[in-house]
Symmetry: C2
Subunit: 497 residues, 2 copies
Amino acid sequence: MALQVYNSMTRTKEVFTPIHAPYVGMYVCGPTVSGESHLGHARPYVTFDIVYRYLQELGYKVRYVRNITDAGHFEEEGKEAEDKVGGKAKLERLEPMELVQKYTNLFHDAMDALGNLRPSIEPTATGHIPEQIAMIQDMIAKGLAYESNGSVYFEVRRYAETEKYGQLSGRVLEEMIAGSRELDGQQEKRDPADFALWKKAPAEHIMRWNSPWGEGFPGWHIECSAMATKYLGKHFDIHGGGMDLQFPHHESEIAQSTVCNGCAPVKYWMHNNMITVNGKKMGKSYNNTITLRELFSGAHALLEKAYSPMTVRFLILQTHYRSTLDFSNEALQSAEKGLARLMSAANIMKTFVKGDATKIGTSATDVQIQKLIAECTQFMDDDFNTAMVLANLFEMASIAFVVKNLQLPTGEASEGALALMANTFERFVYGIFGLQESVQTSGSKMDDVMQVLMNIRKEARAKKDFATSDLIRNQLTEKGISIKDEKDGTVSWTINE
Amino acid sequence: MALQVYNSMTRTKEVFTPIHAPYVGMYVCGPTVSGESHLGHARPYVTFDIVYRYLQELGYKVRYVRNITDAGHFEEEGKEAEDKVGGKAKLERLEPMELVQKYTNLFHDAMDALGNLRPSIEPTATGHIPEQIAMIQDMIAKGLAYESNGSVYFEVRRYAETEKYGQLSGRVLEEMIAGSRELDGQQEKRDPADFALWKKAPAEHIMRWNSPWGEGFPGWHIECSAMATKYLGKHFDIHGGGMDLQFPHHESEIAQSTVCNGCAPVKYWMHNNMITVNGKKMGKSYNNTITLRELFSGAHALLEKAYSPMTVRFLILQTHYRSTLDFSNEALQSAEKGLARLMSAANIMKTFVKGDATKIGTSATDVQIQKLIAECTQFMDDDFNTAMVLANLFEMASIAFVVKNLQLPTGEASEGALALMANTFERFVYGIFGLQESVQTSGSKMDDVMQVLMNIRKEARAKKDFATSDLIRNQLTEKGISIKDEKDGTVSWTINE
């Protein structure tokens, strides 16, 4: 069976056939770094990290481009008035790029913590102003964009005369006008459906660039057309993002790229579904926007405790990416337990891996193991069904526990079947799913183990077994750890280096 | 005493007076990310991290800008020929920005590991093409630059007629011509001293942008003028970098900015001195270029072992930044020991901090402590003399060890003096010097301690002391750690989570 991908454009699962195999080009809409990353950022980037990992597992050479949106309205709330006072030295004024840097760093830290591989290229909107201007000039030259009062707009109805507009989101033009976010600049547009390619910068706007239409900044959609074309070409394989981006962002992107490049830009459009928090849409009005830092530290009124990034990753993988996903304490705590069980099984599996994989029997367990293994690939090939794969990994985990506890008749699980199972398990858990043992664990465990050791030493001394207590001290010294008996009877320890 | 900074331009120490106190603008030349970060990158960024930290300690609001040079000749060696074949799809061709991303990530990882705070803004050369083009146009309009065959050059002799050129590096024009790196394009220049502002892109050059002079890419020096002006203003406080950048890079930067902005750009020029490896200049011809990854992992023929990033940081701080610094196994191992001693003292100091700082006596030790504390600030104020501060911190450490071992007469070191000392010690070690306990240590130490515990268990079993061996197993189980006796006589252990 070959990989099948659900294409949001055709609304069907299609066999994945790259345009220039073995190369695959994938563009995913990155974050807008005008604020801190929140729960809503975890899902799309874990989802497309899995796509990235699995495509590489299948042998493709993937160029994964994920942008940073750092142009537009980037000013800290409340700070605007005081900072925009003219006449101040540059250094005393707010600098939007400082905020961009701060939120980009936080985003990167969160992505690393979640175990997402870094994209091949992470281009910024501000880093591609000339490319965006060039595309806008091209659209004006082709008669599909017009300048109005220093801003430039895309003429949607004109485009819709010859091309399909709204196919991806399944909307008709009139609906789209009603759903448009752009409230300002309406009087400058020829038609309410038109969207901005370039915005004239008001006097107080700090972020601004020279352009053929005066000082301004790019519209929201043009950056993705410019950067995808620059790094992946006019026609590339996969474009990903959250479902909420289908309109107006992706529709606009398609229109822009089609005009400039003479062809539809994307072969497979992929969209992850939305998240909810305790069943409600996340949003300011609900007071339920949880940042990733809050989630990882537990510092939010809605959280009963801190949840590790790996717990969050695991929870995301438990639901197929095209279904909605609800974040709740219950779901997170259940994911935490599930992850712990999986990791516990992973440690047992390590002892199986060395087995001779050719020695497979015909017992019911051996047959079951082979079925479970084959299905993992089938599930992934079926539009990246991580939830189904996880179910199989849990069945494998159960087998591992049973084997470890010697609860199976001899020969029921053959050396070869166990080795194959362990290999598959590790490949999926660590490689394709990118799950890891929580790093923090070993820090506190070190304290735990030292405490056990000190208990044993105390026992020995109580029994006047000074040979043992000295042995403990000497061996620790050898390892570079000093222990000291405190006056209150406790023992403190320090790592010497 | 006020902070004094050695100004490379005036060759004297000057009292530091920010242009717009309490704001301070600092620009430091960042890495060229066409290759992996090496030893030579550790020193300047640790040096200016200390400057950044100390200025903040003094209460200044610092905007620290450190650029990423990602424009120019960015192609993987050996790959050029095959990848530049025309007619290939974009995705099949080499993309320089993929290399840029890879080496930028590695640079960031190394900087984080070295404990350097992240700069306020980290702008890229490719992200400021319009700003660079605008400055070049300005220089042409002012008659100090000219276009020649699609490239643009700065007319050095013309500039030198009215402005001082060579003041920073102390060179006269004729020397500078001889020392110039630019071998190509000589026939296009009006004078050999002229340097490139914009280079015409040859047909095979992948990185290229439109400009008023055709497709090309910016010269090496213009990006820093453009980005420093954009984020810090026409005249800012500190410009830092390695001494090797004085000419031609910083001289050119001064000339460009002076022409465009009508004033010298920088109040205080700061330059760190060079490093050597085993007494030799680092370079390809000596086969002694050690990347930071190699240094941290020990994977280089010249390294006897791995050195932690904190060891490297400590070694850098042990030498004043304006002296040369030699990296050798001896020096690194001695730094490792020094750092361990300091961290050991830091742990003892933690018990002193709580003391009542008003209870200071007049004993010799109390007087000595107060002198050591006062000097720390004096040394830092004397052009960031971290080496001298470290000497004082070691004297404080000695006092801490003596106090801990009860080797002082009662009252000789008062509660208050020890509290003050501990506060100063922690402020410098962790805050101003940014030193940390090595994180990796505890990982391998965990293995060490488990091994000690397993040795004790083995001893117990050999003596048929099963009470002890059971106690060990049970206590570990309680802590969530399973142990398993392997067939080969070893014991494996797993954390159950």
